[in-house]
């Protein structure tokens, strides 16, 4: 049995689920952001694997470049928001920051 598309897709699905778990269970904004990075990586594995095994062109790799670019943009904005929150509240716990009424 050789390594095929399925192997890579399963790895992608595992990373996606781990990222999902992180996002749903962590209250620390930076940890949540790291969970999102895991999800983006799982998508990237899928793009590159599909590009290699099925389509035969480099489109998938180009998409992965755009995802890396997006991750950079999101990290910059997300961390700026985290810094702004920290200056105001001295915590970045998503739950502890609760001034909005329910």
């Amino acid at each position: 049995m050789a390594i095929g598309l399925t192997h890579y897709l399963v790895l992608g699905a595992i990373l996606f689920s781990l990222g999902l778990y992180t996002v749903l269970t962590r209250r620390n904004a930076i940890s949540v952001l790291m969970g999102v990075e895991l999800i983006l990586n799982s998508a990237n594995i899928n793009y590159v694997a599909f590009s290699h095994f099925s389509s035969g062109n480099v489109d998938g790799q180009i998409y992965a470049i755009f995802v890396i670019m997006l991750a950079a943009a999101e990290a910059a904005v997300g961390l700026a928001i985290v810094l702004a929150i920290f200056q105001l509240f001295h915590t970045i716990d998503v739950g502890a920051v609760e001034t909005l009424k329910e």
């Binding site: 990222g19 983006l40 998508a43 998938g60 999101e74 904005v77 929150i85």
Partner: protein, 479 residues
């Protein structure tokens, strides 16, 4: 290589305007910032002119990954108008709150650029990049009032939820790319016809994830929980911009992707979408009743209206598309108006967003009182206002498509919503002792924005025929 740049003209003009605003902002004194408003408005008007000039053309560029059709142009005009009203109604707001004006207007413009792309994109990657440009711009706009802790908190919530939804979208697009071999919507549609069963399972999974990602963006129940906090915490003009333009952009993408290109899969998503529509309407309306803040009430009401709009997506076809586009227009007018009146009540540190702050407004500021009554009646769906006409066509499209139950639930929901909309009117005319509200002299731009919203609400209600025709022509141009 010959490249057709015509489809990009209006959006390029918007980016150019944003860059000019950013650059000029560096060189002018604080008391001259009014100039930036004018430059932004002129830029938007020019882009609108270009879109009008291009009306009726039907062409593509960059291997048809971006299309120029009446559908894209309709939404272009809608987004440009929304951006202009947002800028008009935030002129006084940003000065009172020490938000940096240059960056604020530039970000409104750049988000608008993203929305225009979303409506015109015929390729999932392009759609996705437009969506992200819009979303990141709006996250930042939400958090720009930095002295106010609620705004930063709202920005963080919105950002985390948005980034999460982005992950779903990307993963979904990856699966679709794998199954269809392309992200081009036309090629995906043709791959739909020929894939073997296992391929189409991966495709369906991808479409499902795309569906969830978009449901977050239009704030459909059960993906709505972020909406009240984010709309409540954001600066009010930004809340209005989110409620109208961001939602319209997501619906534009939804219509192009699901109602047109992927319509062969319609039988698979009709049932979940129907459940989503019913849940969204009902939960939005039920939660809106118990609010004590008008801003939060409007946030829940925007959820309910997303539910009404979903009806059109379930119905599909020509009548559904026409109803969707027309209702987005009416919804834009009345929602901008309602948020505009809310902005007019703000005085210095005090936001005056509770129901009790509206007490006596009808006598203190007759124009604001009258305008707010109109918007509330229209949102509730009283004839002859825009909200009524819009809802009429929405429910009619549901009946035409054979979803009579959906139309009945929608009508019952409208009845339910009367409770909380009328409460504002009762407050304004039957009680006393609320907020003063800004007089015209202190906020002329804001009054202009509210006046435009009043005109729109009345016009679309009384003389809907031209706008209905426009909506129909625009939707048909998809095919």
């Amino acid at each position: 290589m010959e490249t057709n740049l015509a489809p990009l003209l209006p959006s390029a003009e918007v980016v150019l305007t944003a860059l000019s605003v950013l650059l000029l902002d560096l060189f002018i004194r604080k008391d001259e910032k009014g100039l930036l408003v004018w430059i932004s408005l002129i830029g938007l008007a020019l882009a609108g002119g270009m879109a009008l000039f291009l009306w009726g053309s039907h062409e593509g560029a960059f291997q048809d990954s971006i299309l120029l059709d009446d559908f894209a142009l309709f939404f272009t005009e809608l987004f440009l108008g929304a951006a202009a009203i947002t800028i008009l109604s935030s002129v006084h707001y940003v000065r009172e709150t020490n938000i940096h004006e240059g960056e604020f207007y530039a970000l409104v413009l750049l988000s608008t650029f993203g929305m225009i792309l979303m409506a015109a994109a015929n390729d999932l990657i392009l759609f996705f990049l437009g969506l992200e440009t819009m979303s990141i711009g709006v996250y930042i706009l939400t958090g720009m009032w930095r002295e106010r802790s609620q705004a930063s908190e709202a920005a963080m919530k919105y950002f985390l939820i948005g980034a999460f939804a982005t992950g779903f979208l990307l993963y979904g697009i990856a699966l679709i790319y794998g199954a269809a071999g392309s992200t081009h919507l036309g090629r995906i549609a043709s791959a739909l016809g020929q894939t073997k069963s296992h391929g189409s399972i991966i495709l369906s999974a991808g479409v499902f994830l795309l569906f969830v990602g978009l449901a977050f963006k239009v704030a459909a129940v059960p993906f709505h929980f972020w909406v009240p906090d984010v709309y409540d915490g954001a600066p009010t003009p930004v809340s209005a911009f989110m409620a109208v333009a961001v939602k319209a952009a997501a619906f534009a993408g939804w219509a192009r992707i699901f109602l047109y290109q992927l319509s062969p899969l319609q039988s698979e998503w009709t049932l979940p979408l129907k459940a989503l529509a019913i849940l969204t309407m009902t939960v939005g309306n039920l939660l809106a009743i118990s609010q004590s803040s008008v801003k939060r009430m409007l946030a829940y009401s925007s959820i309910a209206h997303a539910g009404y709009l979903l009806i059109a997506l379930v119905a599909g076809g020509e009548s559904g598309g026409q109803a969707l586009l027309f209702y987005l227009l009416s919804y834009a007018a009345m929602t901008f108006g309602a948020f505009g009146v809310l902005i007019a009540l703000k005085e210095g540190e005090n936001d005056h967003e509770a129901y009790s702050d509206f007490a006596g407004l009808g006598f203190k500021r007759p124009f604001l009182g009258m305008a707010m009554s109109l918007f509330m009646l229209s949102l509730a769906g009283f004839p002859p206002l825009a909200g009524f006409t819009g809802k009429f066509y929405l429910f009619r499209s549901a009946v035409v498509a054979g979803h009579i139950d959906l139309a009945i639930i929608g009508a019952l929901n409208s009845l339910l919503s009367v409770v909380y909309y009328l409460r504002v009117i009762v407050m304004m005319y039957m009680e006393e002792g609320g907020a003063e509200g800004k007089p015209f002299a202190r906020a002329p731009y804001l009054y202009l924005a509210i006046a435009i919203a009043v005109l729109g609400t009345v016009y679309l209600g009384v003389l809907p025929a031209p706008a209905l025709d426009l909506s129909r022509i625009s939707f048909i141009s998809l095919h």
